[in-house]
């Protein structure tokens, strides 16, 4: 029952987010991040990978959810779609760490109820990929994420219009996702 309610809530939040509701989107990503963190930790534990970069995988997965949210079919529940992305990113991350995936990983990705997942409070800081963004993108992504500024404030500070800041932010996030991915080939 709780599972069903959560599915409905997630789907409703994502529909609102796709319609442009940033607050709903933030609430959704926040909830998802707890489940993703717990699932990634279980995956890492099962395959004996070091826990120190779990947060990198959580962030890479959130970026993928963000950049691929137009592939979610709004008539379907959100959970299976999120799990498929999480599974994809977890497998990539484990392979990158030299793990061979021999057993089905689906059970690992089965999300725990949010309450249980919330006990994972020791979050690490993820890598400093942000430092590798180019100048303007780095300033804008850093201001909005790390410094928590609004798009309007950033636009004012930099003497840019808001549209240009939005474009740079989006490109910066895409570049971050690409940097995570490039880790695959290392």
């Amino acid at each position: 029952m709780a599972q069903l309610n959560r599915e409905e809530e997630w789907a409703a939040l994502m529909r609102a987010a796709i319609a442009g509701d940033a607050a709903a989107y933030r609430r959704l990503l926040d909830q998802l991040s707890y489940s993703l963190r717990a699932a990634t930790r279980r995956g890492f534990a099962q395959f004996g990978a070091a826990m120190n970069d779990v947060e990198d995988v959580v962030q890479e997965t959130l970026l993928a959810i963000h950049l691929k949210r137009h592939t979610w079919d709004a008539s379907q529940p959100l959970g299976p779609w999120v799990r498929a992305i999480a599974r994809h990113k977890l497998i990539d991350a484990l392979r990158r760490r030299g793990r061979r995936i021999e057993i089905p990983i689906d059970a690992v990705i089965d999300f725990l109820p949010a309450e249980e997942a919330r006990s994972d409070l020791d979050r690490q800081d993820a890598q400093r990929l942000i430092g590798e963004l180019n100048g303007r993108q780095q300033t804008i992504v850093r201001s909005i994420s790390v410094e928590g500024k609004s798009i309007r404030d950033v636009a004012e500070n930099l003497g840019m219009n808001e549209g240009a800041v939005r474009v740079a932010l989006h490109r910066g996030l895409k570049a971050l996702a690409a940097m995570h991915r490039r880790g695959d080939e290392e």
Binding site: I18, V58, D73, W81, L169, L173, R181
Partner: protein, 212 residues
């Protein structure tokens, strides 16, 4: 950057959502098909007796094969473009196409004396078939792969291969209206070689291009 901070940036970018993937694929397939039709009309055109041949079961059977390939590959690629499990139903639908072709080939071997089999299989135009089907597939193939880059396929290689099958379905349907050879034995050989080539090309490109 902490995850909460990343989430703040993602939420600030909430407006950036792209066109739904289904629509992107539809535009690519429709645009690619139009491109292939134009190329076909300029380069080849239908054979003179195409309309009169509509009463010929062998002629019609070619389209049963190419259109069922196209339909099942389309259904499959629509699902493969999104993250998740491979849809078994569409996979079975696709697997039914070679079975259908085998049934047609056996029917041909029953109705035609064995001495004729070789000539029917070789046809009059096999070299052209193997070259022209991939050529007619090229535009839809490129358009579809480009669209699939917007998707999030859990199986990039398989997705690329099925994109190759979709484009071969379009190319082969067009080519079948031009090609004078109608025997299922011809289709089961030369069309299959051309289609297999597109699938392998798609798998090879998909594995590199469709990772995300």
């Amino acid at each position: 950057m902490k995850t909460d901070q990343l989430i703040a940036a993602l939420a600030a970018d909430a407006d950036s959502v792209e066109r739904p993937i289904g629509r992107t694929l539809a535009i690519a397939v429709a645009g690619g098909a139009v491109g292939a039709v134009i190329l076909f009309a300029v380069m080849l055109g239908t054979r003179p007796d195409a309309l009169a041949s509509l009463t010929s079961p062998r002629f019609l059977f070619k389209f049963v094969i190419t259109l069922s390939l196209l339909a099942s590959a389309l259904g499959l690629v629509w699902n493969l473009a999104r993250p998740g499990a491979v849809p078994i139903g569409w996979l079975l639908a696709l697997a039914a196409v070679p079975v259908l072709l085998a049934v047609g080939s056996v029917a041909e071997m029953i109705t035609v004396p064995p001495a004729e089999w070789g000539r029917r299989l070789a046809g009059s135009n096999s070299g052209m078939c193997v070259i022209l089907i991939p050529m007619l597939s090229a535009i839809p193939f490129a358009a579809l792969l480009f669209a699939l880059r917007k998707g999030a396929p859990s199986r990039p290689m398989l997705t690329g291969a099925v994109a190759g099958l979709v484009s071969a379905g379009i190319g082969a349907t067009l080519y079948a209206t031009h090609c004078p050879d109608d025997s299922p034995l011809f289709v089961a050989t030369w069309y299959v070689i051309a289609t297999g080539f597109m699938a392998m090309l798609g798998a090879a490109i998909g594995e590199r291009l469709l990772r995300w």
